[in-house]
Each structure stands twice: as C-alpha cells, then as structure tokens.
Amino acid sequence: MTALSSYEVPPLERRSLLQHSLTVVWRNLLHIRRMPEMLLDVTIQPIMFVLLFAYVFGGAIHVDGASYREFLLPGIMAQTMVFSAAVVAIGLTNDLEKGIVDRFKSLPMSRWAVLIGRSVSSLIHSSIGIVVMALTGLAVGWRIRNGVIDAVAAFALLVLFGFAMIWLGIWVGSLMRSVEAVQGLVFTVMFPLTFVANTFVPTDNMPTWLRGIAEWNPVSALTGSCRELWGNGPVAPPGSSWPLLHPEVATVAWSVLLTVVFAPLAMTAFRRRSED
C-alpha cells in the first residue's frame, strides 16, 4: 500500500438543502439504474393487472357507456400512485437499516435532505410507472378523449396525490424495522384498500354499506378525476356520494388532508428514529 501523504483539500463549501437533496436524488436514481428490477412494482406488476383485468375479468364486468379497458386504466394508475407510499417506505427502511442514514447524518448536511431526496426520487419512480401504464393502455385501447389541459390536469392530480402518499410512506418507513415488515404491511393493508374503491369495478353494484366506504375512499376520488378528465367512462353512477360527484375537488381535499395528518407524524417519527 502506498503511503497516505498529506495533501491540499479545498475548503468545504456550504451547500443548500436543495443541493444536498439533489445529490441524494442522484444517488437514489443510480440505485434504480443499477437494479432496474426495483421498478417491477410500477411496471410489470401493473401491466399484469391491466392484462388480467382487461382480458380475464373484463368480459364479465359491464360498464355503462365505455369500454372496460378504458374504464380500467385510470384505476390502475391511481393504484400505482397509492403505492408511492410503499416505494418511499421500502427505500427509507432500507437506508435506515443499512446505516446509510447514519452516514448521512454524520455529514455537514441537513437530515431533511435525506427525506426530500427520497420523496423526489420516489415520485420519479412512480411517474415512470405512470408512463409505462399509459403506453400499455394505449396498446390495449385506452384513449384520452378530452383536451390537453384536462389531460395534464389529471396527471397533475396523480402526482399531487402521490405527494400526499409519500408522507404516509415516510411515517411507515420510520416506524418499521425491516423491509420485510413494510412489504407485509403493504400487502395486507394497502393492497385491499385500493380494491375497496371504484378502481376496478363501478360502485353501484356493491352492498350499500360497502359502497359508502368505497366512494369515500380517497382512491375513488382520484380514479374518478382521471376518468372524468380523460373521458374514460362514467364517474358517478346514480346515488353516488359527494366525492364522486366532485372528484377533482375531492382529490385535492383528500391530498391536503392526508398531508396535514401524515406530514407531522412522519417528521416526528423520522426525527425520533434518527436521534438515538
């Protein structure tokens, strides 16, 4: 081994929170490049869902005034955004478990850069999923039938809702001790939650009590917004609850409410987890 001679090191520059966060984003995106299978949850899995529902269940599900495949796509996209929470939680738990967060905390940077970087890269992760979904949808017959502004508005609502979900993910990620625990929680809690909604079937055939729950499920408002803005079939069957009658307003309201509830919980949990 060669001797470690002393050498000149330039003075340390003070970096902003934004610069530190971008460095963390760069690092997280390198992870996706090195392990593209990390994207399976937002690519192969939803594609499989599209194909299963479009070709296996689709024939048995009747939707008034639209093809089932068009009706289905907004639901799958909403489900993908809900899973942003899982993407964040798994990434964060992994970093906490492997001591990477400790390494970052020992550096002259704000620990919040870890969270901001993780949030941004997770939104990019989920957005890749949305693009893949859109392309798959176009291949099986899904179309955007309204104007550009409406189309963009629907994508914006998806990202807004994803942002709210990130706080839920940070909260869960800070509380859980292993990636396996997070995955368990996702499959037993989040997965069913995205089904008790209008994501895959219209709500008007559900039992009354279940229909109420499904229509007040935030996922339904998001799905409804996309259907309305893209012109992908009926949003509010007769007798629908308020959120389905005003899906865009409901989506914004849900996103704000979820952020207000989960952001403080997430920040407290992360601070507590990263203090000892």
Partner: protein, 341 residues
C-alpha cells in the same frame, strides 16, 4: 469561505481534539453510558476498550452528533456536539461498526457521493477519488459496485470515504471486527500511516491487541463507566508487576531453586506438582537469576519473564475476561502482532 473560518483548522486551544465531558446516555431505564469523561490530545490515538455492550458505540455516537446525550457533552476540534453539531461534522470522519458503504454504487461513486455532501467541488473529487482508491488498493475495483467487494475491501472503501475531506479527527467504531488477520494487519498499517500524517484517532475495540498496537492511551469501559485509563504499559502495571518463572527438571531441586530466588525476591510461590517457581521480579533480576542457575548444579527446563497482558489487566479490572474468543481467532491476533513488530 475563507480558510480562516474553516472549522477544520479551528483553534482547539492547542490541546484536545476530542473531549468527552461527563457524557451520559439513558435508554429508558438503562444507563448505556454513565458519566464518561476523557480527552484525546491532538495527533494521538485513544482506544476505547471494552466488551460488547459496554457503551463504546453509544459514546462514539454522541461524540459524532448521531445521538443526543441525556446529559454532559462532548467537543470535537473545539466544537460542542450539542451547540455546534454542523461544525463538529465538518471536522470529523466516521467509520461505523458496519461498513456503511452504498452497495449499489461503485467505489468511485461512493467517494464522490460523500465528498459532494461534505461540500467539496466536483473538480477536486475527480482527482481525489482516483488518489484515495489507489492509496487503499482499490483502483482495480474502482468502477465495480461495492456489493461485489470483500469484507476487507468494504472496510478500506469505508475508510477512504471517511477521509475524502481529510478531516483532522477520525472516529473508528470497531474498525477491524469481522476481518481476517491479514486484512486486519493491513488496516492497522493504514491507520498508523494516517496518524503519522497528523490525524487524531478515536477508536473503539474489543480486541486488546488492537488497542495495544494502535493506541497511545487506552480508556477501559465496562457497563457504561470508565473503569481505568492510561497508556498500555501503565495499565499492564496495574495488573501487577512482572514475574520470573522457573521450572526445574527434578523435584529434588525445588528447595534449592527456592533459596536462589529468595535472594532476589521477597515474594516466591512454589507449585510442587509442576515444579514451577514464580518470583516477583523484573528483567534485571532475571538475567542475574539465570546466571546463578547456570553456575549451580540445578537443571532447569524453562526460565523466563512473564509480563501481565492486557487480558490480565481486563480480568483484574472487571473480574471477567474481555471477550470469549475462539482459540483460532486469538491465535490469528497474536500472529498479526508478531508480523507488525
């Protein structure tokens, strides 16, 4: 930013690079660290020695701002860990117990990542990464992801990453745990090189030999408290003086040998069964004793000086051995120490 304001060269009153000032950490009802104080002079090496769970890691975590002390405080390069955590972080590097390299990044990317977060310019990091990788014998693996590295390579990368900003103070939490004897010896040489270049080291270890080899001062911690401190030789003296041990060939000579030893030492123990006599005496006495035995008609199987080891020190101080080791790993350690001398 002017170099005068650079906290890496902060005035530490010329004295201590690291100070622990009555550091205490309580987790629920457990006192993990209890009123721990010590100081590390600039440019020296202090070893925190103690068994698993003694509170070494928690002490380092408090000194490196990862954990907030329940009471007491610490200073690194003159900066208070409670009041100026950012200045502390700019003055130190940390290599944790588990090599915390990013497995999915290459060696080069790991160095760049941490360098960027320290606030070093990219132009500098390009050359610095090459130099560090070479210095740590990682040039060939520079562009492989760290997941493919061996344990020793990960440790070296971890250390290289910690040194990218050339911090004046380096914290090493059990730097060689889990390494084979060869990699451990390599790492020791690297650390000794760093110290020669002026870096202050605070390292924790449960290997007595490691503390003995690297540290100028040893602080012994057990159950969260400092139970002794001093240079390795001072600590060894605490465990008792050196002894001359003689084994005679014939049991009939035991009395004669005892008489010789009593001329040099007031304290002689005799073990009839093994024909071994032990006298409290040092190196000077031993040469004289050897001469007398050579001149006498007494046949001697073995004659030698026995100094207390740090193992004896630990047993003496705590009433329990430092760490149960397999014979193999203990043998490996001895081998390394021999190799270094």
């Amino acid at each position: 930013m002017s170099s005068a304001a650079d906290p890496r060269v902060a005035d530490v009153n010329g004295a201590y690079a690291v100070e622990a000032d009555r550091l205490t950490k309580r987790f629920g009802n457990t006192l993990a660290v209890d009123d721990v104080s010590f100081a590390v002079p600039q440019g020296s090496v202090v070893g925190l020695l103690g068994p698993n769970g003694a509170g070494k890691t928690t002490t380092v975590r408090m000194l490196t701002t990862l954990s907030v002390p329940t009471s007491g405080t610490g200073r690194v390069a003159g900066h208070d860990v409670r009041k100026e955590p950012d200045a502390v972080r700019r003055s130190m590097g940390l290599t944790g117990q588990v090599a915390t390299v990013d497995e999915l990044l290459t060696g080069r990317e790991n160095i760049r990542l941490i360098g960027r977060l320290y606030g070093l310019p990219l132009s500098y990091l390009r050359t610095a990464a090459d130099r560090l990788l070479e210095q740590f014998s990682l040039s060939d693996a520079a562009d492989r992801i760290a997941k493919t590295y061996s344990g020793g390579m990960r440790r070296r990368l971890d250390l290289a990453v910690s040194l990218v900003a050339a911090p004046p103070v380096l914290f090493l939490d059990e730097p060689t745990t889990g390494l084979d004897p060869r990699s451990r010896a390599d790492l020791w040489l690297l650390l000794q090189d760093l110290v020669r270049n002026g870096t202050t080291l605070l390292l924790t270890t449960q290997y007595l030999e490691e503390a003995d080899t690297l540290a100028d001062q040893i602080v012994v911690i057990d159950s969260g408290r400092v139970i002794a401190s001093g240079t390795p030789s001072e600590l060894k003296e605490k465990a008792g003086a050196a002894r001359v041990v003689v084994t005679v060939s014939n049991a009939s000579d035991i009395d004669g040998a005892g008489a010789i030893l009593r001329r040099f030492s007031s304290e002689v123990q005799v073990d009839e069964a093994t024909r071994r006599l032990t006298a409290a005496a040092g190196l000077n006495e031993m040469t004289q004793i050897a001469q007398v035995f050579a001149d006498s008609r007494i046949d001697v199987d073995d004659l030698g000086l026995k100094r207390p080891s740090l193992d004896d020190v630990f047993l003496h101080l705590t009433g329990h051995p430092a760490e149960e080791q397999t014979d193999e790993s203990a043998a490996g350690e001895r081998e390394v120490v021999e190799a270094l001398r």
